[in-house]
């Protein structure tokens, strides 16, 4: 990989990468199982430079912001590089947001140019929110049909500035991106990420999980998401690796992509991991008894031989069918976005597929701690990455306190929000709002959000997400544990209670068996950690773009219910 220490900006590093590996495959784009594009690093450069020139002709340069709203595809990365080439700031926005929300963020970011896809532009352009973003001067839309009504947009493909663009140097402290967090904390905030933030994060991550020419990274999480932006763009491209994009993320095409492109790494959110687990389990259970027994035996052998560290070559020999389904080259599945159930991680690890649990947040690029697999630990989110100082603020008697971090990856601040920035970064330490503690081996364990907690009468702090583990696998559609006072604030610190909120499957009845199962699991908890009430909620839980439960929003919705009438005893 490139030595990122010597670069001042992401654009500068990418520019060198394009010169270093001109003939290596850089991007592969597939649509419904059919390969549509394959670009080398040289092709990438040839596509990006005319766009950069066109942006410069539009007057775009340092201090200007250019937004991208696109699905995962090659033009996303090409456009991003062109923006960096001009020394402008990139604003990656979530294509899954509603048009009104996108306009709101475009306005907030002050973006002058928007790069999007024609299909997205059709919905965005006709939204009434458009009039709000007066800052926006130009829209470039990709893949518009020949006779399309462009509704004021220009064709991305026509952006072919004739002369060579001028590369604009940046300083390490300059803002590379404004990233809107989709965290569960509420209103999105524009994190100003510097070039240094990204370069340092990339060095730290690739020191543990390296990319190299020949690596195929499957890009599934939206590229605007901090995780894919780092490990599906900057990481692979500064190492000469290739990124595989699928134009549709239908499960069948994702499954096909693993063997088709012999994927090396992929990042998945827990929901998808659980879905994969469910599918694999169903296949194992469908095996004839004798084959199943043999499979179980091999899995047990694999488990014991990989206890101290992964041995991929061995696992691939022991369980060839499983590994062939994943293409036979998979080094690891990186799991992020939200808290992963240890059972799911262990399930994959036992099959010889390292499921790498990591923890971080957009305010610190993406990753603060990661499992180094020496040995694999399903019950923690790993150790701090090189260069990260992680401290627990105000630990209680159990060592649990707010996770704070100081490193070169911490953002410059929130855009236009100096007060919020001052509350979040105190004396150089980023306050994450997440609660955790280090175990004796230096692994970080998380115990939930700062305020969704109770203090028991015995003075014990209990964190809702910690208690949720006791209900993992409960046969309901979804569930969540809340501190009752987090939903219905009481202005009181006494008599606090935890509640289990469940949403049943369609047509599912709340049977005595289910009630008994909840009681049994609850009884297994230490007494002060037990939930004291049950709420059956009729609606789908609100989820973020990365499929995390929006706890604050769910709590707000629950708050509309009558407290006394909604809570059933357990």
């Amino acid at each position: 990989m490139l030595d990122l220490k010597k670069y001042n900006s992401v654009g500068e590093a990418l520019r060198d990468a394009l010169e270093t590996w001109p003939t290596e495959v850089c991007l592969i784009e597939s649509d419904r199982g059919e390969e549509k594009q394959r670009f080398t690093y040289r092709n990438f450069k040839d596509k990006a430079l005319p766009l950069a020139k066109s942006l410069q002709d539009l007057g775009i340069g340092p201090g200007d912001r250019v937004a991208i709203i696109m699905t995962n595809q090659s033009k996303w990365l090409i456009s991003a590089y062109a923006i960096f080439f001009c020394g402008a700031t990139l604003v990656p926005l979530d294509f899954k947001l509603k048009p009104e929300e996108q306009w709101q963020l475009l306005k907030h970011s002050g973006a002058k140019v928007l790069i999007t896809e024609y299909g997205i532009w059709r919905q965005l352009g006709s939204s009434p929110g458009r009039s709000a973003a007066t800052c926006l001067k130009t829209v470039l839309a990709t893949e518009a049909p020949e006779n399309a009504d462009m509704a004021g947009a220009e064709r991305w493909e026509a952006m072919k500035g004739t002369n060579a663009p001028v590369f604009v140097l940046q300083k390490r402290q300059d803002v590379a991106c404004v990233v809107y967090s989709s965290g569960t904390g509420g209103t999105p905030k524009g994190c100003m990420m510097t070039h240094e933030n990204y370069l340092e994060q990339c060095m730290a991550l690739t020191s543990l999980y390296p990319f190299w020419p020949g690596v195929h990274y499957l890009s599934i999480l939206p590229t605007n998401h901090a995780a894919d932006f780092m490990v599906g763009f900057i990481g692979p491209l500064t190492c000469g690796a290739a990124v595989v994009h699928l134009r549709t993320l239908r499960p069948e095409y994702v499954r096909e992509a693993f063997p088709q492109y012999q994927i090396t790494y992929v990042t998945l959110v827990p929901l998808v991991m659980k879905n994969l687990q469910k599918g694999l389990q169903a296949r194992f259970e469908a095996l004839p008894a004798s084959k199943r027994k043999a499979f179980e035996a091999l899995r047990n052998i694999n488990r014991s031989l990989t206890k101290d560290r992964p041995r991929l070559w061995l696992s691939r020999k022991l369980l060839p069918q499983v590994h062939e389904a994943f293409g036979g080259k998979l080094e690891a599945i990186i799991v992020g976005g939200s808290f992963s159930e240890p059972e799911t991680l262990q399930f994959f690890y036992d099959l010889g597929i390292p499921a790498v649990n990591a923890y971080g947040l957009s305010e610190a690029v993406v990753c603060i701690t990661v499992n180094d697999l020496k040995p694999f630990r399903a019950d923690t989110v790993g150790k701090p990455l090189p260069g990260m100082e992680v401290a627990i603020r105000n630990p209680d008697t159990d060592g649990i306190g707010e996770v704070t971090v100081r490193s070169k990856t911490v953002m410059a601040g929130y855009l236009n929000e100096p007060e919020l920035t001052a509350e979040s970064i105190v004396d150089g330490w980023l306050r994450t709002g997440d609660m955790g503690r280090f175990d004796s081996t230096g692994h970080l364990q998380l115990f939930g959000r700062k305020k969704n907690m109770i203090v028991t009468e015995e003075g014990k702090n209990v964190y809702a997400e910690d208690v949720e583990q006791a209900f993992e696998g409960l046969l309901v559609k979804e569930f969540c544990v809340f501190a009752a006072n987090f939903i219905w604030p009481q202005r009181s610190m006494v008599n606090e209670r935890l509640l289990l909120v469940i949403h049943l499957e369609h047509g599912q009845a709340f049977t005595p068996e289910l009630k008994s199962e909840i009681s049994t699991r609850n009884a297994r908890l230490t007494n002060y950690k037990r939930v004291h009430g049950l709420v059956i909620y009729e609606e789908d839980f609100p989820l973020t773009a990365s499929l995390k439960i929006k706890r604050s929003e769910l709590a707000q919705r629950l708050a509309a219910l009558d407290r006394e009438q909604s809570i059933q005893p357990i």
Partner: protein, 80 residues
């Protein structure tokens, strides 16, 4: 060329078969996540079936945020 009513009806029938719910139990205004009790991945699988049936391509963004059969039928109809 199908009418929007025909398209809607065919989508309801396809969903009825795919998710094994009683015939006639689905209506155009139903929220399919809620009514069928499916998650986002299962919804994507349903879209694949629709594409095969109607011989169209529905980009993921086109159906992003769509949760009722009626709107889904409109998106399909626009591609026929």
């Amino acid at each position: 060329m199908r009418t929007i009513e025909q398209t809607t009806q065919e989508i309801l029938e396809l969903a009825t078969t795919q998710f094994k719910v009683p015939a006639g139990s689905l209506a155009a205004d139903d929220d399919f996540y809620k009514k069928l009790g499916i998650d986002s991945l299962q919804a994507l699988e349903m879209l694949s079936r629709l594409e095969n049936h109607f011989r169209i391509e529905l980009p993921d963004y086109e159906v992003q945020g769509v949760s009722d059969f009626k709107t889904l039928a409109q998106r399909v109809q626009a591609r026929l």
